[in-house]
């Protein structure tokens, strides 16, 4: 079971790079914001799986909750900023 979750973790890490490509070369700002949110969500899952691998899920759940909150605020702030600049 641990090997399976390790494989899932490595796979998600590789997927992050695909999202990173969209963030760097994304044609529009919407692509970049959505890709940033997706990276945040993947990071959250990776954190919980790392917690499972280390056998301390409850600690990593705290970290991932805080990460999800900051990710939400970041996306909201970026959306508001670009809306105010009239880019959308």
């Amino acid at each position: 079971m641990k090997a399976f979750f390790l494989g899932v973790d490595i796979f998600l890490c590789l997927m992050v790079f695909l999202c990173l490509y969209r963030v760097v070369f994304g044609p529009t700002l919407g692509d970049r914001i959505v890709a940033t949110g997706a990276i945040g969500t993947k990071t959250l899952t990776i954190l919980v799986i790392i917690g499972f691998l280390y056998g301390r899920v409850e600690m990593f759940l705290d970290i991932s909750l805080a990460y999800a909150l900051l990710n939400f605020i970041g996306t909201l702030a970026a959306a508001k900023y670009f809306e105010a600049k009239g880019e959308f």
């Binding site: 909150l69 605020i73 909201l76």
Partner: protein, 168 residues
């Protein structure tokens, strides 16, 4: 600009539901810092994040109504006072700075309990100071925003300048 209200009913509803839970979570991080990742600084940052959430969605003036910059400055000083006060109280009682075991006779508790309570006390002070400082920094950055659409009355600039100098 960034100071205005977020004209989106989804964001407003979500934030109105989320903010109390975020603040409860911040208090959990603060109080549970002995056993899990977290503590005063992290709890304060999450508390400040809830205020920033209110500011982002409900607008600059609405956030200032909830916590004025002058009040934030006083809260910041109060946090440092709690931290230093507990430290010097231990010093006055004959221990080292932040030597919590000396607080045991005051609270009428055992030594380990006194240490735990002392750490919780200084973490509370740190959380207050960090929350107020983060909030003031964000609000000052936004207030210095000189983009177009400056239809906000110039009176606000003067008023905010007064409160921030008052807070120091």
């Amino acid at each position: 600009m960034l100071r205005s209200r977020y004209q989106d009913i989804i964001a407003q509803t979500i934030v109105r539901i989320m903010v109390p839970f975020v603040q409860i979570y911040a208090l959990y991080v603060l109080a549970h810092g002995h056993y899990s990742p977290g503590g005063g600084f992290q709890g304060g940052v999450i508390l400040a994040a809830s205020l920033v959430l209110i500011f982002l969605v409900y607008g600059y003036e609405n956030a200032l109504e909830r916590l004025k910059l002058a009040t934030a400055g006083r809260l910041c000083s109060l946090g440092v006072l709690i931290y230093a006060g507990i430290g010097f109280l231990c010093l006055l009682l004959g221990g080292n700075f932040l030597d919590y075991s000396r607080l045991a006779p005051i609270f009428q508790v055992s030594l380990p309990r006194a240490r735990s309570l002392g750490i919780l006390g200084i973490e509370t002070g740190v959380a207050l100071a960090v929350m107020a400082a983060m909030y003031s920094i964000i609000m000052d950055i936004v207030n210095s925003d000189t983009g177009n659409g400056e239809s906000h009355a110039a009176g606000h600039e003067i008023e905010n300048g007064e409160t921030s100098s008052d807070g120091k």
